[in-house]
Amino acid sequence: MKGSIFQNDKWLTVAAIVFIVCVWWIASSFYPPIILPSPADTLKKFYELLIAGKLVNELLITIQRVLLAFTISFLIGAILGSLVGKTKNLYLFVKPIITIIQTVPPISWIILAIIWMGLGGGAPIFVVIIATFPIFFFNASEGIKQVSEDLLEMSTIFQVKPQRVLLDVYVPSLWPFISSAITICIGISWKTIVMAELLSSNNGVGAALGLARLQLETAEVLAWTLSIVILGVTCEHIFQYVSDKTRVGKVSKSWKLKG
């Protein structure tokens, strides 16, 4: 299955990763391991964590949280953005609210989040939602303005059902915006969950990373980071794969990516 996911871009992705690892390796030779461990040290630590079962444990917790947060954020952001983007006044009212929500640093949310949702995991989920849903919102509301009036008029006249118009006109037109937002948010979600767990939670990758950091286990910090990066890149590829399989992605590719 992995093979099929990586099929197309396989070599380029591998090349990119090799490139990053090389840069890292060279950089690590300039610093003591407590500052920047080499890829080999990190991998060793990664393997140790894997064997100990700790890696999988914490990862599962974090993955759950990210999936939940991402889904909520996508739904709220994309739907609200699409609805609000069309109505100028509503947009002008909602926009500053979202800018405010987005501008408040997580550190200021955290205590409220902990009180509302406890130390269990609600707070990181909340923080990830706060961090990502404005991106869906702004991209969707900008995208919705770009939907061709001509095609909408055509659909109205031919009395096409709203759900078909949604599926066949809105979704494909919004796609470049949504797709870009998803790509951005995949990266941001993983990064943010780590920060949020570090600040507010007992478990998950972020908490583990924070602990390793306090104990000056830099190799372990990077091993956790590595696990997050692997998740991020894998998600990106799964998204790309699914998106290429679906009609919209396929056509918008063949239709535009001529070069």
Partner: protein
């Protein structure tokens, strides 16, 4: 020599204004090594005497104070060799040493900063906490390890539930009444003390409990230097320790001044500093003298959380001696 210094100290105590730089240079003529040393410390007890020293409290040595907030800032500055003297928690010192950084501990100056507090007046001892929830700062750090140690001594370590978070969050929830029992170190705890006043009951002073069990003080933080620097500047280090010890005396005499200084220079709130000073033992003991006390402490850390000190007891070279 000692007399001279006392004289200087006496003179200094009468001064109220901060010294001008050129004035400072004049006085520094006495010091054979006329370098300005950098002292790096967290915003906690060890920085306070140093503030007095920088403010002119030390005649024979001139220092500049910098602070670190996060472990990363600490690491980066150690890596960059940006400070001559660095105050760190003892577990961090051992850990740095274990990770192969060329450092040496010169003294222990802060003792017993961790407390178990509660807002529940029914709780008077550790045993009363059976079946309760305790919020602990610094997971796998000294507060966590020591609490577990005491709970084990009491035999109730599997009868309480522990939650972990950071001191500010725990403090806020404690004050807001969302939680009842917490383990936090000073000076963060003083923020809570100030807010809750009498409502807050101090159940366990970790220093006392430790003393009860081992008959020793509970060491918490000390000062490290670069090993090579220590070897080459033996005299300067000793002089520093001397001045530091004197500054501690000065601090105890005039906590007001230290508190004000802390507020104006590094932004720590004066009332908090004053309160915290009442609950921490600050006195400097040269590392080699404190070695048994420190090792007892490390022993416990090593037993329950080896990573906290880097997985092994530091060797002899770790302790600076005269």
């Amino acid at each position: 020599k000692q007399d001279g210094q006392h004289e200087a100290l006496g003179n200094e105590a009468e001064k109220t204004s901060v010294k001008q730089p050129d004035e400072k240079v004049n006085e520094m003529e006495k010091v054979k090594n006329d370098k300005v040393f950098t002292f790096l410390a967290p915003k906690s007890a060890p920085v306070l005497p140093a503030l007095l020293m920088a403010d002119g409290g030390a005649e024979d040595i001139s220092i500049e104070v910098k602070t670190w907030d996060t472990i990363d800032q600490l690491l980066a500055q150690i890596q960059g060799n940006e400070a001559d003297f660095t105050a760190v928690p003892l577990n961090v010192a051992a850990n740095l040493h274990a990770k192969g950084l060329p450092i040496q501990l010169i003294d222990v100056n802060t003792w017993g900063t961790i407390f178990l507090v509660t807002t529940d007046t029914n709780v008077t001892s550790l045993a009363d906490l059976e079946g309760e929830e305790i919020y602990v700062s610094h997971k796998s750090g000294p507060p966590d390890i020591l609490l577990n140690h005491f709970l084990a001594e009491e035999g109730i370590n599997d009868k309480v539930t522990l939650y972990y978070s950071t001191p500010p969050e725990i403090s806020q929830m404690l004050i807001a009444g969302n939680i009842k029992h917490a383990v936090i170190p000073e000076p963060a705890l003083s923020g809570v003390r100030l807010q809750l006043k009498d409502q807050l009951v101090q159940v366990v002073d970790f220093q006392e409990s430790w003393h009860e069990i081992y008959g020793l003080d509970l060491p918490q933080a000390g000062i490290i230097v670069n090993k090579k620097f220590a070897a080459e500047n033996q005299e300067a280090v000793e002089q520093f320790l001397q001045s530091y010890q004197e500054a501690i005396q000065l601090m105890k005499k005039d906590p007001e001044k230290v508190a004000d200084l802390a507020e104006s220079t590094i932004g720590m709130k004066a009332p908090m500093v004053k309160t915290a000073l009442n609950h921490m033992m600050v006195h400097s003991v040269i590392a080699s003298d404190a070695k048994p006390v420190i090792e007892q402490y490390y022993e416990i850390l090593l037993q329950s959380q080896p990573e906290a000190i880097g997985g092994k007891l530091p060797d002899e070279g770790f302790y600076f001696s005269k």
